[in-house]
């Protein structure tokens, strides 16, 4: 069964989730990955959305973080202050999923502005929950499409701390959580080097060359001693993911997204 690069990315992210995880889910690709995991190998995976819905089991993917579907299928729905105070800050979440417009080699993220803050070239939506998700979840996973514009040598604005500008800042700031433990792109999987915390390629998706990753990465990217090939999506993974997207498209009254 052939698959797209985005399907490979979603499936790779889903596989990284374990049955006993409690996952703080963002909209878009993280939501697709988390629900795919729940519908395949991790049926007990607990999904928490920042709108306050706890252990939600949506039948279709939400368009927004607060679609009615999330509340109707949740075990409980709490207020937004309670979500951020007791559940996120309270240390109840094992995995936080993050994305952004730009990432650097230490997993720091920019989702605020391109250019000068006061006179931006592009005003991005902003951090939302990310700064505290990155600080309070036991570890974070980053999901982003690979390109030189997104994987940059230097961030002009750090919205959300990863391992810090030199890879050593988390501990200095008093953070006891792990920070970015995994980055999944449409080309490869990266994990932080155990010592330096620099993100290294640990697995290439089928058909992707090292040269392609080097070309699409804005810093001199490094590769782990052993680089695997990511197993291609199975027929079951693709069936479940495509069914989910098809149900979602019908529910939202739009053409199927990828």
């Amino acid at each position: 069964m052939s698959h797209s690069a985005v399907e490979m990315m979603t499936v790779s992210a889903a596989r990284a989730l374990a049955d006993d995880d409690v996952c703080f889910v963002g909209i878009g690709l993280p939501s697709a990955a988390c629900n795919l995991a729940r519908l395949t190998h991790a049926p007990r995976l607990r999904l928490v959305y920042e709108s306050g819905t706890i252990e939600t089991r949506p039948d279709v993917l939400p368009l927004s973080i607060g679609d009615g579907e999330l509340c109707e299928t949740a075990l409980a729905t709490v207020s937004v202050p309670e979500m951020f105070q007791y559940w996120l800050q309270g240390g109840r979440i094992t995995i936080g999923f993050l994305g952004g417009a730009q990432v650097d080699r230490f997993g720091n993220l920019n989702s605020t502005v391109i250019g000068d803050y006061a006179k931006p070239t592009v005003r991005l939506p902003g951090g939302g929950g990310a700064p505290e998700i990155a600080a309070c979840c036991r570890r974070t996973f980053i999901v982003m499409r690979h390109s030189r514009r997104a994987f940059v040598d230097r961030l002009t604005f750090v919205t959300t701390l990863g391992h810090g500008p030199t890879g050593r800042e988390r501990r200095a700031l008093g953070l006891t959580t792990e920070g970015p433990a995994l980055l999944v792109s449409d080309l490869c999987i990266m994990r932080p080097h155990p010592e330096t915390k620099e993100l290294q390629v640990t697995s290439l998706h089928p058909g992707v060359t090292r040269e392609r990753v080097i070309e699409q990465t804005g810093w001199p990217v490094t590769f782990a001693a052993t680089v695997d090939e990511t197993p291609a999506p199975t027929a079951r993974e693709l069936d479940v993911l495509r069914d989910l997207h098809a149900r979602t498209a019908v529910a939202h009254g739009v053409d199927a997204a990828e």
């Binding site: 927004s64 973080i65 009615g68 800050q89 592009v122 902003g126 939302g128 701390l161």
Partner: protein
């Protein structure tokens, strides 16, 4: 005690030029009808507070009503940018807008602090984020007991909070259910509050003793506006119009298309005529 008013009279009575206003609703129960009435009455120079500015603030900003925006995530959820917000920030159209930018945790804590009559909120946050370098209202304090470095932001104390709810009873008590967001905190933090509701009922249903109920003596005015949260949704009444959220992207990209939409759907429609 809450007073039952028409939407027009409620907005005219409660919202003044130059006010700090919070229209809240976390994706759910967004008070679109009330925001549109603010646009119709042309009440400007506003400081707008909202965690997720969404389409409603995109519309109010595009109409030039906002001088300042206090927020934490300014996008069209699941779709992309808020183009009117971007036009105001990037090109100053129709007027420049000042930003006070926070994280969600900070905004939620600031509302809770306002409701609790505290001067500021203290929480674990913003460590290593450049947001603290561009927003002077993000500061840090050391915990007096443990020495831990904590973030501090001022409490939100809006002049007016505007929210939409499912029901009010004849005594003026209000019921909200579903994703309840920060609405209770916004109303309790504000000097004045307006709640638009789907309907007035004889008595609020006793579905659960822990439902979010705003007693009549915490609400300034109530206006009955069925469908008042559309194109967002009201749990138990109608679903989110996701197709409109997708369509807004094209409408809002272009200044003229945006102005034509506002003329046809907001300023050219009376409060009473709204479906």
């Amino acid at each position: 005690m809450s007073e039952l008013l028409s939407l027009r009279d409620a907005v005219a009575g409660l919202v003044h030029q130059g006010d700090t206003v919070a229209l809240e609703g976390f994706t759910h129960l967004i008070p679109f009808a009330a925001g549109h009435e603010v646009i119709r009455q042309g009440i400007g120079e506003l400081t707008l507070i909202r965690m997720t500015p969404d389409l409603l603030y995109d519309q109010m900003i595009g109409c030039g009503l906002a001088k300042r925006l206090v927020f934490s995530w300014g996008g069209n959820p699941g779709v992309g940018s808020l183009h009117r917000l971007r036009d105001a920030v990037e090109r100053g159209w129709p007027r420049p807008i000042e930003l006070e930018e926070h994280s969600h945790a900070a905004m939620a804590n600031a509302y809770a602090a306002g409701a609790a009559n505290m001067p500021a909120a203290f929480f674990r946050g913003y460590l290593g984020s450049d947001l603290a370098t561009v927003n002077p209202n993000i500061r840090f304090v050391d915990c007096p007991f443990t020495g831990e470095r904590l973030a501090a932001v001022p409490a939100h104390r809006p002049d007016v909070a505007i929210v939409h709810a499912q029901q009010a009873d004849r005594a003026g008590n209000v019921l909200l259910e579903g994703i309840v967001g920060v609405q209770k905190e916004a109303v309790l933090a504000a000097k004045r509050s307006l709640v638009t509701v789907e309907e007035i009922v004889d008595a609020l249903p006793r579905t659960s003793p822990n439902a979010v109920v705003l007693p009549a003596w915490t609400v300034t005015a109530i206006a009955v506006v069925p469908g008042g949260a559309k194109p967002s949704y009201a749990h138990g009444y109608y679903a989110r119009d996701n197709a409109f959220y997708l369509a807004w992207d094209a409408i809002s990209r272009d200044r003229e298309a945006f102005q034509a939409w506002i003329a046809a759907n907001v300023t050219g429609v009376s409060a009473e005529a709204r479906p």
